[in-house]
Amino acid sequence: MSHQPTNIPSGTQQHNSFGPEHRRYFFDTFGITERLLERCLGEALSAGGDYADLYFESIASTSIGLDESLVKSANQGMSAGCGVRVVAGERTGYAYTDDLSADRLLRAARTAALIASGPAKEPVSGFREKTQQNLYPVLSPEGDADIASKLDLLLRADRAARAADSRIVEVRASFSDEVRRILVAASDGTFASDTQPLARFNVFVIAKDGTNITRGSAGGGGRVELDYFLTEKTPEGFAKEATRQAILQLNAVPAPAGEMEVVLGPGWPGVLLHEAVGHGLEADFNRKGTSAFSGLIGQSVASSKVTVVDNGRMPNRRGSLNVDDEGSPTQETVLIENGILRGYMSDKLSSRLMGIPETGNCRRESYQSVPMPRMTNTYMLAGDDAPEDILRSVKRGLYAVNFGGGQVDITNGKFVFSASEAYLIEDGKITAPVKDATLIGNGPEALKFVSMVGHDLRLDEGIGTCGKEGQSVPVGVGMPTIKLDRMVVGGTGR
């Protein structure tokens, strides 16, 4: 896996060999034609409005699960549909259909059009299709890679976890993958299509020592296919990591309570950024003035050592997309530069209403969902400090290296994230592992206390799912080792 995401060459893969194939899929499978797309967009703008788009989506997914050394579950799903959106000023009308016949599509367009009330507008005539980046070449677009090989991955993880330690009493493993095809056509002439693979492997274990029972889990993936788990990230690796965490917890002491110095390890602890600043920098909250970051562009919101970017164009990353769900190319966007708030993550609607650049951050859970600005892969750039020096500088604090989820209240800025692997730091040394504890901070303030930034930037393993207004989308996070001079740790100990 890439440990230096900033070195990723951008714009070197301009030719997308699957371009014509994406488009043909909806045309061939569902009988969609350019003429029909134009008719639907015309119908969508029949009562006026500034903009309309059609989002076609088809997903084929598979998931298999192992429990008690048996492959107990296997599921396959197919879904297809189209969402029609009409935007008039700040108003959005939305309708969708899972029947892609001309009649149903036109009916959905008429329903979405009810948001506007004025004279009909004409969509621009003729679609423009841009050449696209190809961040995740798809080798088996039907998602039908050998099921037996996937089952074997689960069995390998089971054997490895049980062999790792005799105190492991339960092992569950799962593998899920999907291929999502999209086609976007909009009244501004946008025409884009994409084929997006997504795969994830996960291992969950229970360790038991006398009456002491603990859990451990590990997983990973991205916009990758089966091959990735045979070569780069093997089931044995995930199994060992899950086992290590569960065994470690057998000896955990209560986490401390109160404000203290906190060191966060590299990689997944970047969920801090996602919660502390990421959501607050999504353009929709700022357009409406409901974010704690509203009106802070150009102001200091973090220590000068902090630079945070959102980057949707990292090859094979879970949060990456060739085009966003409005058909715009994704990009790398600087959110915070040396502590100064530089910009928001936006979509076409926010960009037009706020007069800010469009950043290719428009996403949606499915064709049934109204799209909105969302994160892709969000991370902090590396600094100059050696991770050992960072730990050595702490008199008494917490070193947190792995986390469960987090949550933020956009309006008052309060955010939490829950450590699942953390240690006490005493006199510059890592001592006892501690039990699960939630850390809490205030978004616009927390990163001002970042006093050291490591040179060890790492991205997470590909496990993040972000929820906003009931919609889930895959995302990535990343961070080098950092030190926060103060943060509240929510344990029960002293």
């Binding site: 197919m78 939305y94 259909t97 603990t214 409901t290 929510g490």
Partner: protein, 458 residues
């Protein structure tokens, strides 16, 4: 009324049984089909302007097949004959590669059944409300927030949402059942700003099976504003141990954790601290926790569960003693017990565990004011954030905000703190429960006081 998108031919039980026949012909030894069709409407009005209007419907089919002791499932949104053919053959092919599991299989036919009588879980009165009236309800809820106080300066909008679903379940052992459920709600989410620029949000809502049963948008907006305004000026408090009082809407999460701890899936996986504790004192002797899928008009009521067993009333904890786990057929077989009719079944995958109407009864309920009255210094929690709950160990640590209690009454708002403890001790340390339980959703609790938790703050 907007032009409806669900003008398809309706799904029928005949289609479900046809799918089962196709699966048996394709080689399955048993099969279960589920069909679902639903529609949704959403109107969001913010600062007087309609911000979002959404209306649509969708349909899907799911199939679970058994080949002896092997099983697999498939789902699709393509209900054409060709799509259903793929659904059937995909499931049978997939089942061939899974492991033999002697515990797998459909329920025993003698356990099938459905509640009879009028459950009052479906009303179509919302269909008679024209779109303009639905939008007006959302608009009135948002306007009521702004009318309440000049410090309400912004909002995330007032909304009116409604939806209805039709579910059909059938299997090869003779069960066929179907039901419709409807839901509609009005909500408001204002933002208040103090003179020093601090912003706070909160919300309030009313949900019901029928539009006629909703509370007025004015009362929802006024309550949302009251809840938001009381957060202005919030600050942190020092790290300490004090009694924590959970407001009813937050105490629901504690009742939910008791349900989770008794979830049969966690039990047989040794992943819950309730495993092996049947018959033991797991909570304060004041507490009784009940799951009841049969309550007339309930938000969690259905005539049968996800496997075709009648829903029922299950006492999970009685006066603090763990009486029952929550089980579906598979988990019951693993634990050598009987299903409690708690199978939950979506369109895809195998059945999981789900609650009906879940609630808490106290042996000696108190007015909420007298619960506060007994506390010299403490925390009244009105919001929790984060997922810091470990059901294996019981370790509990979440972000909190609320009101500080001083000398038996609310004093000032607090935020930026965590509350932590262990659920095993927290359940035992419920030292008071209120008489103020109301079903606003499928899980309900009165006010709860829990002692011995640690607050971490400044």
């Amino acid at each position: 009324m907007l032009e409806t998108l669900t003008a398809h031919q309706e799904l029928t039980a005949a289609l479900a049984t046809q799918l089962i026949d196709q699966a048996l012909s394709a080689g399955a030894t048993d099969a279960e089909a589920v069909l679902y069709e639903g529609d949704e409407f959403e109107a969001l009005v913010r600062k007087g302007e309609v911000e979002r209007l959404k209306e649509s419907g969708s349909r899907a089919a799911g199939l679970r097949v058994f080949l002896g002791a092997r099983t697999a499932s498939t789902s699709t949104s393509d209900l054409t004959p060709a799509g259903l053919e793929r659904l059937v053959h995909g499931a049978v092919a997939l089942a061939r590669v899974t492991s033999e599991d002697p515990f797998a299989g459909l329920p025993d036919p003698t356990s099938f059944g459905q509640l009879s009588g009028e459950l009052r879980i479906y009303s179509n009165d919302v269909d008679d409300l024209p779109a303009a009236e639905r939008i007006a309800l959302a608009r009135r809820a948002d306007a009521a927030c702004f009318a309440a106080d000049p410090r309400i300066t912004n909002s995330r909008g007032g909304s009116f949402d409604s939806g209805a679903g039709h579910k059909i379940l059938a299997n090869s052992r003779g069960f066929v059942g179907e039901y419709r459920r409807s839901i509609c709600s009005i909500s408001a989410s204002p933002i208040a700003q103090s003179a020093d620029g601090q912003m706070q949000r909160d919300y309030w809502y009313s949900s019901a099976r029928s539009a006629a049963a909703l509370e007025s948008p004015e009362s929802i907006g006024a309550e949302a504003a009251r809840r938001t305004l009381r957060r202005l000026g919030a600050r942190s408090v020092p790290t300490q141990q004090v009694p924590v009082v959970f407001s009813p809407e937050i105490a629901r999460s504690i009742v939910g954790h008791i349900f989770e701890a008794a979830n049969g899936s966690l039990i047989y996986h040794q992943s819950s601290f309730f495993a092996g504790k049947l018959g033991e004192q797991v909570a304060s002797p004041e507490l009784t926790i009940i799951d009841d899928g049969t309550l007339v008009g309930g938000f969690g009521t259905a005539p049968f569960d996800g496997e075709g067993l009648p829903t029922r009333r299950t006492v999970i904890v009685e006066r603090g003693v763990l009486k029952s786990y929550l089980l579906n057929t598979y988990m019951a077989r693993k634990l050598n017990m009987q299903s409690t009719g708690n199978a939950s079944r979506g369109i895809s995958g195998a059945p999981g565990i789900g609650a009906g109407n879940l609630f808490l009864e106290s042996a000696s309920p108190l007015p909420p004011a007298s619960i506060l009255a007994g506390i010299k210094s403490g925390l009244y929690v009105t919001e929790l954030i984060g997922q810091g709950v470990n059901m294996v160990t019981g370790d509990y640590s979440r972000g909190a905000s609320g009101l500080w209690i001083e000398n038996g009454a609310w004093s000032y708002p607090v935020e930026g703190i965590t509350i932590a403890g262990n659920l095993r001790e927290m359940f035992q340390n419920v030292t008071a429960a209120g008489n103020d339980m109301v079903f606003r959703s499928s899980v309900a609790s009165p006010t709860l006081r829990i002692d011995g938790m640690t607050i971490a703050g400044s």
